[in-house]
Each structure stands twice: as C-alpha cells, then as structure tokens.
C-alpha cells in the first residue's frame, strides 16, 4: 500500500506540475461553458421541454464525448514516456509489482479526471440556483461520466503501454475509443436485430445515457466493469510482455 501511495504521489505531482493539464482544463471548461450557456438559453426559449432533456442529458453527453479526447491526451505519457526515458526500468527494478504500478497509475489518472469533472460542478450549481431540484439525476449523471471516464482511462493507459512514442499513444487512445463509440452506429444501421443488439451493447457510447436520465442499470454497470477488467488485464499483460 505504501509503495502504491509513493508512486501515486509522484504521478500526481508530476501531472499537476505539467502545463498540459491546465491547457486541457481551460479548453475543456471553455467548450463546456459555451455549450451549457447555449443549452440553458435554448431551454429558456423552449417552454415545453424539461431541464433534463434540454440541458442535463446533452451536457453529460458532451462531457463524455470530450473525455474521449481529453483522457488519451492526459494519459498518453503515462507508460510511453517512462519507456522512452527507460524510467520504467526503475519501477521494474524496485520492489513494486506490476499490479501496484498499474494501480498507482490508474489512481492518479482517476484523480486527474475527477479534477476535470470538478470544473463542471459549476453547471449543476447554476441549475440548482435557478430552482432545479432533481439531485438524483445529476448524481447518477456524474456516476455515469465517472464510469465512462474510468473506462477511457484504462484503455488510454493500455495504449500508452504499447509504445515508446507518446504521440502515437495519444492517437491510438483517441481512435481506439472512437472505434468503441462507433459500434452504436453499426447497431443503428444493422438490419439484423441480434447483430444490432450485440453492437449496441459493445458500444462505449450506449451506456452512459441512462445515467443522465437518473437510471442506474446493472446492464450498464456490468458493461463498464467488463470493459475496465478486460483492458486492465491487457495492460498487465502488456507490462508482463517484457518477460515473454
């Protein structure tokens, strides 16, 4: 536990002293702020539409969409830079297991993601100040965003572990996640019901929407847990591949 904390603390310090995180945070906040403002004005204009469908659902949808780009950019250096600078050997020579290394990296990545999510807390706060009272849908929306983000994180870290090239790791992460999102398009266009259902379930983009409606389904939780576990396993295997 001590070793995980040490590596986690090092990672956090390194990430928060890099200007990259603040540049991305500014872009993330700016884009969501503009979007929220537009949605909010639109909701005021259209009287016969609920705040959930006019603001909350599109807002969470867009947070999730942005995370597909932000998280790979934040995670691309995680393993690739360590490989490039050979500092990964320092970890492999230390009394740290691969599991501890992965846990510390994922934990620090999750903290960075939570930092990004805290920047969005201003939006529900404005809604509450405007009289909106359904905290459950906001809370479940954030649970959905968190689960979606964690899946993006483990996938991006896996991509980072595959190469020494940081830019390539970022590109692999973004396009890989877009690939998982694209399954829902296949599902929509498929004529076969079974194929459509399978692709819909496999799509990363099909599972966060119920959360923003205030619905937490085991169906979606199982998907997120399976996705996370599968890429965690691949990430461990990628680190272990030095022994193959």
């Amino acid at each position: 536990m001590n070793a995980i904390f040490l590596l986690y603390a090092r990672e956090i310090k390194s990430r928060f002293t890099s200007p990259m995180i603040y540049i991305l945070a500014a872009i993330f906040s700016g884009m969501l702020g503009y979007l929220f403002f537009s949605l909010f004005l639109e909701a005021n204009r259209l009287q016969n539409i609920s705040i959930e469908s006019a603001v909350i659902r599109p807002l969470f949808g867009n947070i999730n969409a942005l995370l597909i780009f932000i998280i790979p950019l934040l995670s691309m250096k995680s393993f690739s830079e360590e490989k490039r600078q050979a500092t990964i050997n320092l970890l492999f020579l230390s009394p740290l297991s691969d599991r501890q290394i992965v846990t510390a990296k994922i934990l620090s990545g999750a903290v960075v993601m939570v930092f990004f999510l805290t920047l969005t807390f201003i939006f529900p706060l404005i809604l509450f100040m405007s009289g909106y009272q359904n905290t459950a849908s906001i809370l479940s929306g954030y649970i959905g965003v968190f689960l979606h983000g964690i899946c993006c994180l483990v996938f991006s870290q896996f991509c980072s572990s595959l190469t020494k090239n940081t830019a390539l790791a970022g590109i692999l992460g973004i396009f890989g996640l877009l690939f998982f999102m694209s399954f829902s398009w296949t599902a929509q266009t498929s004529q076969n019901f079974l194929v459509s259902q399978i692709f819909d379930y496999l799509s990363l983009g099909s599972h966060y929407e119920p959360f923003s409606r205030g619905t937490i389904r085991s169906y979606d939780l199982v998907y997120y847990m399976s996705f996370f576990s599968f890429f965690w396993f691949l990430l461990m295997a990628s680190l272990d591949s030095r022994n193959w």
Partner: protein, 309 residues
Amino acid sequence: MDAIVADNLTKTYPGKTALKNFNLSISPNTIHGFLGPNGAGKSTTMNILSGLIKQTEGKAYIMGKETLENSFFVRRNLGFLPEIPPLYGDMTVKDFLLFRARLYFTSKPKAKGQVDKALEKMNLKEVERRLIDHLSKGFKQRVGMASALIFDPPVLILDEPAVGLDPKSIVEIRKLISDLREGHTVMFSSHHLGEVEQLCDEITVIRDGRLVLSDSYGRVKKRFAQKKPFEILVKGEDQVLAKALDGYGDYRIVRQEDQKKTIVISPSQEEELAPRLCRRLVENGVDIFEMKRGETDLEEIFIDLMEKQ
C-alpha cells in the same frame, strides 16, 4: 555460495543471438570487471542478471536464488545502474532519492537517513534541490549511482558507471567502487581497461555473446606474463647458447657488445620458465648478467584475446 551466477545463459532476438551458452560465477565481496567490445553482450548479460529482461535459455542466480522465480528477492538485494541511468527529470535530486528510498524502507526517518548518506557519499549535497533535468551528465550519473546504492544492496551491477564523466568524477566513482569492496559484490563493465586493472579482483571477457575468459585478474596476468619474451644479457659461445636454449622456444640475438649478447627468447611453454632457464644456462657455462621480462597490462591481454577470436 557465489554472489552472481550465470548458468548457460542464451538470449536470442529475431535474427540475432546476443548471448550464447554464457557462464559466469562471481565470488562474494569481490570487484568483478566485465569487458568486451561494443555489442559483445555485456549489457544483455547485466540486464538478464538484474531481471530486467528474460533469457531465452539458462538460469541466472543472485546470492543463490534463481532470478526469475525470486524476482522480489533480487530487487531487494541487487542495485543496478544501467548504461543510461533511469531518472525522473522532473524531480529534484533529494525528492528522487527519497522516493527511491521510501520504496525500500517503510520508516521515513530511516529512508531520510539513507538519502543523506547517499548525498554525502556521492557529493550531491550542492545540487540536492535542483531538478535532475537541469543537471550535467556527470551529476546525473552520480544520482544514478546514488539511486542504485540507496538501499545498500549487497550486490551491485554497474553498466559503464564512469562513461561520459570528467576526470575528477571518474576518480571519485573509482574510489567509491573501491570503497564498496567491503561487504559488497560489484560487477561492472567498462571500456577503460586501466580502471578495471586498478579496481578489479576478477575479470570476465565476452565477445560475440560468448565467454572468452573469466578468472582472477592476478591469474590472468600471470598466465599472459608467461607468454612474454625474456630479455637476457649473457656471455657465451653461440653454439653453447643454442644447446642451452634448445627446447625452450625461439630465440634471437638482438644486440652484441664485446662478448656480451642480448638475447630475446619467446617461451614455447605456458609455465614459469625463469628458474629452469637460468639453471640451464648456468649449467652450460653461460654467464648471466641480466634477465628481465616485460610487464603485462590488461590492454595487452584484451587486445591479444580479441585478436585470437
């Protein structure tokens, strides 16, 4: 029990055999020099011994424990300094060493004590608050050494520890390695043959992934010295000399002044010839005025071994 053992190690990469049936034993509390030309397989061997890469065949042992099965034992007992020291450039020297120490010692005061010792030993006090990225190559190498020594491991493997350092730092690193003799087993590779000669109790020479020689430096030196020619200043007839030196090797007269002749004889046998040769010459009525043999240094031995291969 030997501190480091390589038992029939083979490492193959697609299209290349980096190491072929390589054997090595290093006794505890010795300094072992690891020599070979570039691409001979030194770094591969060291990486396998430290557990960083896995061998294709064979086994490696550190303090009697097989490295693959006892990975955590190896990590706690072996300090490894790779050719390019792995350092976190975004940390200060002190923070980096403290991070390394805390991975081994749960007690913070103990870890801090180790860091202070390492800073002192490696003369890093003046740069302890500087970012590693901003340090010179020499200081980075010292931080790498401090990092490898931070948990006081009984076995140390150093891959070219003095490469790229200025003369002052080289002397300091050599002194440090020499000081480690007590209670540590040190294996280090180097292209500075003088350095190896000065520090090592044992040497191993590798070429093209194969073992060329592994022995105590004293024995290697003696063995090679026996092949060196004798230069003898004698007084005697040519026929007498020919008879006396028959069977000892080729000889030639290189100088002749008055009746004294300087002869150079290259011994044909690899054994200590000097006493027998003297006796034989005297028995045959040859007067000996002077007898000397050239010194053998590691450079000569190394070049001889490489040429033979």
